[in-house]
């Protein structure tokens, strides 16, 4: 029972009542003699009657008093806590004693013995003591009890508060869960439309929406078009709302959900017959068109906002509370992110597709190029092979003719034929061997080269009705070191081109030496600067077609103007690019020179000028003799040849003997060394096959150089079938004097031997 006011009043009343009753009972007279303290004789009431009442009450009180400790014990034994046990014990004792007192009092109404009186007195005393003690301890206990009560109240309040908070959190969590589920659904797709559709669906489910619409801005940003809707309506015409509408503007500028009144344009437009909306709310959705990737971190530029309108059912009890709006806002954000991802992915797929297309196209082109390349190579090889056979017969036949008895005119003719075939051979070689261009530097006579040029060019020009003039400056040296064949080739090439393009008049070829002064004057216009060095000259050849009579004056005018003319371009820029021109330019470049082409606007076709650098032979160098002269040089030369192959030996011996040498052939390197070691053997030349068993040509060469002193030792020439340039380099490195490729023709061997002999002779001269 709580300590409340009505209970207290009741208790107080009870006490007062009992006190009154006791007072009344005391003041009532009594008649019984044993009850000496009671003055109850005067009273007419029945004393026995009152005594019975008292006995009865005492008995009941005793019973009640005895029952209390029993109850206490019962409850204490059942409860878990036992606070203030000593107080309860006291109280229990008090109660028991009280009960006993009252119980004994039952016997005091009749005549009773002294024992009973004593017992009663003892009991009363004890009761008094205990009750006093209890009263005292109660003073201590009651505040505590009150305090406990207060705490109990406090705790109850707290519990209520916690309950409330838990509720709140639970509601929050619910919101989050919704959002997460929605996000999951939305994120599942990377397609824009799927994302939006899923979002609409999920929102519809979450909030039990009547309808949900999405309005996208159109291209001009003037209208908002209805693009997605939860409850689709039948559309004949796309539904639009002006983008300038105030409500739309508010929605687009606010980051939070905005309430949409039912009578607004947007509100009206969002609902239709099948979907009559209750309260509506709208939020903006950023529509990401593209994103900028500046320096790696993507910055998305939202170029426009779409509007999403959500409407609840009319009958729905739900309201757009803060929780719901929160969910809507979160969802909108997530959707924006998902859309941007979708856009990026779309873009990347598009680019990927593009690349694949490009790749395919490139592959096709590459294939074509490869096939073209292969075809060209095959063609070249075949042509090369085909051309060599007849070419060789021409060469052979003409060399044969040269050896037979001919008069000087016929000799000249045959020489030209031979030279042409040489040229052709070079060209064929060049064609196949497009990459590497090595100059074959030898001493040759410049004037004879140009004589040949004239021999070739004259008939060419005459066949076109043109005249040909060759103007050689007197300062041109007679002998130079350079690649004779190539020089001839390019000169003839260019002359041929000029002749072809000329319509009439004269084709003039002027050859002179360029000095440093000349180039100083010219070089303002030109990109190429020659480097002048001692021992080298720059030979300039100018080829031009002209109508003028070729006099001294004309010449000056013609060629001075040349390099000043605007039409001069370096050959690369010449639009009439043909293969031979490119080839010529390459060769000229390797000769440290330059080529210019002039496109003659006055209708004479074009002119060409080229400069090449040629080395001047030093005075001590011996000039080469003509081809047929090798016989004199080689006559009687003692040659030792080593080869392990019988047939090679036979052929080589015959070759050498035909050349006029005195040839000895041996089988192995060892034999070779042995033969050389023999006293009195004055071999001037040793021909070594590189590949021999036991001791190869390299080793023989090394040993020869070791065993014999440099002045007395013979020249060592390697004879090998290996065309690898490194082999040749190796031979030279080991100190050999020359390398010949086999199989080798008679003439080639003769020339080669001659050259090597003369070169070494010159070197020896210089050394001495």
């Amino acid at each position: 029972m709580a300590i409340t006011m009505p209970n207290v009043r009741f208790a107080v009343l009870f006490l007062i009542a009992s006190l009154l009753i006791v007072l009344i009972a005391i003041n009532l007279p009594e008649s019984h003699p044993k009850l000496s303290s009671c003055d109850c004789d005067d009273n007419g009431w029945d004393l026995e009657y009152l005594m019975r009442f008292q006995i009865g009450s005492d008995f009941l009180i005793a019973l009640a008093y005895f029952s209390i400790p029993i109850e206490l014990l019962y409850f204490i034994s059942n409860s878990e806590i036992l606070p203030f046990w000593w107080v309860i014990a006291q109280f229990g004792a008090f109660i028991v004693l009280c009960g006993l007192t009252h119980f004994v009092a039952i016997w005091t109404y009749r005549p009773h013995t002294f024992r009973v009186m004593l017992i009663q007195t003892i009991l009363k005393v004890l009761t008094a003591l205990v009750s006093c003690a209890t009263a005292i301890s109660l003073v201590h206990i009651i505040p505590l009890l009150l305090h406990v009560k207060v705490r109990e109240l406090f705790l109850r309040n707290k519990a209520e508060e916690l309950d409330r908070e838990v509720n709140f959190i639970r509601k929050q969590e619910e919101v989050e869960r919704h959002t997460r589920l929605l996000t999951q659904e939305i994120r599942r797709s990377i397609d824009k439309h799927t994302i939006l559709a899923v979002m609409l669906e999920e929102l519809g489910k979450t909030f039990q929406l009547e309808n949900c619409t999405i309005w996208m801005p159109n291209v001009q940003k003037s209208l908002m078009e209805l693009t997605h809707e939860l409850k689709r309506r039948v559309l004949q015409v796309p539904v639009t709302v002006s983008a300038d509408d105030e409500l739309i503007r508010i929605i687009q500028s606010s980051t939070k959900a905005v309430d949409v009144p039912l009578d607004s344009i947007l509100g009206q437009a969002s609902s239709h017959e099948a979907a009559v909306m209750g309260s509506m709310v709208a939020i903006r959705l950023p529509v990401l068109r593209h994103s900028h990737f500046k320096g790696g971190t993507p910055q998305s530029m939202a170029t426009a906002y779409a509007v999403m309108v959500l409407g609840l059912r009319r009958s729905n009890e739900r309201e757009w509370g803060p929780r719901e709006l929160e969910i809507v806002e979160t969802v909108a954000d997530q959707v924006a992110v998902a859309l941007s991802h979708a856009a990026i992915l779309e873009e990347s797929y598009r680019i990927q597709d593009q690349l694949v297309e490009q790749n395919k196209a490139l592959q096709v082109v590459r294939q074509e190029a490869e096939t073209a390349m292969l075809a060209r190579n095959e063609f070249l090889v075949v042509m090369n092979h085909e051309m060599r056979i007849p070419l060789h017969s021409i060469k052979a036949l003409s060399s044969l003719l040269q050896d037979s008895n001919l008069d000087s005119e016929q000799q000249a003719v045959v020489e030209t034929v031979a030279k042409s075939s040489e040229l052709l051979s070079t060209i064929i070689n060049d064609m196949l061997d497009d990459g590497s261009l090595d100059l074959d530097l030898q001493i040759f006579e410049l004037t004879s080269i140009f004589r040949e040029v004239a021999n070739f060019a004259n008939p060419m020009a005459r066949s076109k009705g043109l005249r040909f003039v060759l103007d050689l400056s007197s300062e041109i040296p007679q002998h130079v070191i350079g690649d004779e064949k190539r020089l001839l080739q390019i000169t003839l090439n260019l002359i041929g081109d000029v002749i072809k393009s000329a319509k009439r008049g004269t084709v003039v070829v002027a050859v002179r030496l360029d000095t440093e002064e000349d180039f100083k004057w010219h070089s303002q216009k030109l990109a190429w600067r020659p480097s002048f060095r001692d021992g080298f000259v720059f030979l300039r050849t100018e080829i031009k077609a002209t109508d003028m009579e070729y006099t001294d004056n004309a010449r000056a005018r013609l060629f001075q103007k040349f390099l000043q003319s605007e039409n001069v371009v370096p050959a690369q820029q010449n639009t009439t690019s043909n293969l031979t021109l490119v080839r010529c330019e390459k060769i000229i470049q390797i000769m440290n020179g330059h080529l210019w082409i002039e496109n003659n606007s006055s209708g004479f076709g074009f002119g060409a000028t080229f400069v090449v650098r040629l080395q001047l032979p030093s005075p001590s160098m011996v000039l080469p003799q003509k081809d047929t002269g090798y016989r004199e040089v080689l006559k009687g030369l003692k040659v030792l040849a080593a080869d392990d192959n019988l047939i090679n030996r036979t052929v080589t011996k015959q070759l050498l003997e035909n050349l006029g040498c005195q040839a000895t052939v041996v089988e192995s390197g060892r034999q070779c060394l042995a033969t050389l070691a023999q006293p009195g053997s004055m071999y001037k030349l040793v021909l070594l096959d590189l590949w021999m068993p036991e001791m190869d040509g390299y080793e023989v060469a090394v040993r020869i150089q070791k065993n014999i002193s440099p002045e007395r030792r013979p020249l060592i020439i390697a004879l090998t079938a290996d065309t690898d340039k490194t082999t040749q380099a190796q031979c030279i490195k080991l100190g050999m004097d020359g390398v010949m490729l086999k199989p080798i023709s008679l003439v080639e061997m003769g020339n080669k031997l001659c050259t090597i002999l003369q070169r070494t002779k010159a070197q020896h001269n210089i050394v001495r």
């Binding site: 017969s393 047939i647 199989p743």
Partner: protein, 153 residues
């Protein structure tokens, strides 16, 4: 008489041209002919005979070498190199080509390839030998008939 010589000469030219066209011979063969002169009139015949003997020896050696269970590829390579050298000196182009392939297989220690090449070499050699013999016989006939051997194209 001259008709016969002319006919023989024509036959010779046709035959030799066909040999060049088919790639049996290359210009080294012509070079050999250039080395032949009055002081050495039988040079080419001599070389051809030598080539025949030497090649037969080499083929026998190669067959023996390739019959072992463990082939000494270095020896095989040496023989093939020899063969290549002599065929190149005489101008036997196809034989030379087979020798090149043979060397590749020997380098790769490919038994099957080597055996195949050996077969091929035998074939090519017998072909070229036969053709060279025919050619030389024609030459002899022409000279016997009092004509000169026309220079080959």
């Amino acid at each position: 008489m001259s008709m016969e010589v002319a006919k023989l000469q024509q036959k010779f030219l046709d035959y030799s041209n066909s040999l060049f066209q088919d790639g049996f011979l290359d210009d080294q063969f012509i070079q050999l002919h250039m080395l032949q002169d009055d002081s050495n009139p039988d040079f080419v015949a001599e070389v051809v005979t030598l080539f025949g003997e030497d090649s037969e020896r080499l083929i026998a050696e190669l067959s023996a070498a390739l019959q072992h269970d463990t082939i000494d590829y270095r020896k095989v390579d040496a023989y093939v190199h020899q063969f290549k050298g002599s065929s190149s000196s005489i101008g036997a182009q196809r034989v030379k080509a087979v020798c090149s392939d043979f060397r590749v297989y020997a380098d790769a220690k490919n038994r099957e390839g080597c055996l195949q090449c050996l077969q091929l070499i035998k074939q090519e050699f017998s072909l070229i030998k036969h053709k060279l013999d025919s050619l030389l016989k024609l030459e002899e006939q022409i000279i016997a008939a009092g004509g000169t051997v026309p220079f080959m194209d």
